[in-house]
Subunit: 167 residues, 2 copies
């Protein structure tokens, strides 16, 4: 899909079809994350893939805002290194690459941020010194062409013309 | 361009052709930012567009790591709201959308982070309480098909299999 179409039609997705995602597609999504830009090219991230259904259920139970992780085809736990001061910003850039790469394949995701982080680290054997930025559940979107559920601010609100005048 | 191709071929770009970018293309890039996902859909961002050549020169002089802003066709100052605790993460997602949308049009950019922020706020009439996340210079890329200048970590380093074992 054309990149702009992908950006324009992408929707945050919390309902997934019960359909497996091929390993080669998962690999492509991870590759999109790996190729993201980062400050000083430090790439302060690791991507932990979870495909096991039982582990997905456990992950869902550890994410108050992401119970639906349990129903995802797979999930990626995005782990960043807090010793890098841009770790969250760079992690977010990798996440957006993965989200768009997935949508291009008909697969949706959702940034889950409310996480029992220490318990997730324990479950996935993540070193304590690292940070769980987000858990991203992935699965084929039930409705690719659906309307936007949430309203975006109008251009005029986001791109200041009068308020922040260019000198 | 296909989204995955766009992600795969995107390069951080500091050299720009002396070629104007049409307003409709600038608008598309801003639209890509506007449509980015954000925590609780709060969209804690503003995009300040700079097209004036003199202002671009001044901006370049206020960014120690981004002197080349002076030679860009235009720049977008990404302003976020620090009263939102996810403002940097969400701003980064919008930036990645804009960077990919631009690349899809043959236009490159570079996250400039070393900024004399208070002076940039003054120059662009940005309220003091807001945060200048980055200044993004944009311009047609001199070499779209160029090799990657910086090395990416190998998949094995980024996607832990043995180190972070899935339980």
């Amino acid at each position: 899909m054309d990149t702009y179409e992908c950006i324009r039609t992408r929707r945050t997705t919390r309902n997934y079809l019960k359909k497996d995602v091929l390993d080669e597609v998962i690999k492509k999504i991870l590759e999109a994350g790996r190729l993201a830009p980062s400050a000083m090219n430090l790439q302060p991230w690791n991507f932990v893939v979870v495909k096991n259904k039982e582990t997905l259920k456990k992950l869902g139970s550890l994410c108050p805002s992401g119970r639906f992780i349990a129903d995802a085809s797979f999930a990626v736990c995005v782990v960043t290194d807090p010793s890098n001061k841009w770790h969250e910003i760079d992690g977010a850039r990798a996440v957006q690459n993965m989200a768009l790469c997935a949508w291009n394949e008909g697969i949706g995701t959702c940034w889950v941020g409310n996480i029992e982080r220490e318990k997730v680290k324990e479950l996935l054997n993540i070193p304590k010194k690292l940070h769980v930025l987000t858990v991203l559940p992935f699965g084929y979107a039930v409705d690719m062409g659906g309307p936007r559920r949430k309203v975006k601010k109008r251009s005029e609100e986001v791109i200041p013309r009068k308020r922040f005048r260019e000198k």
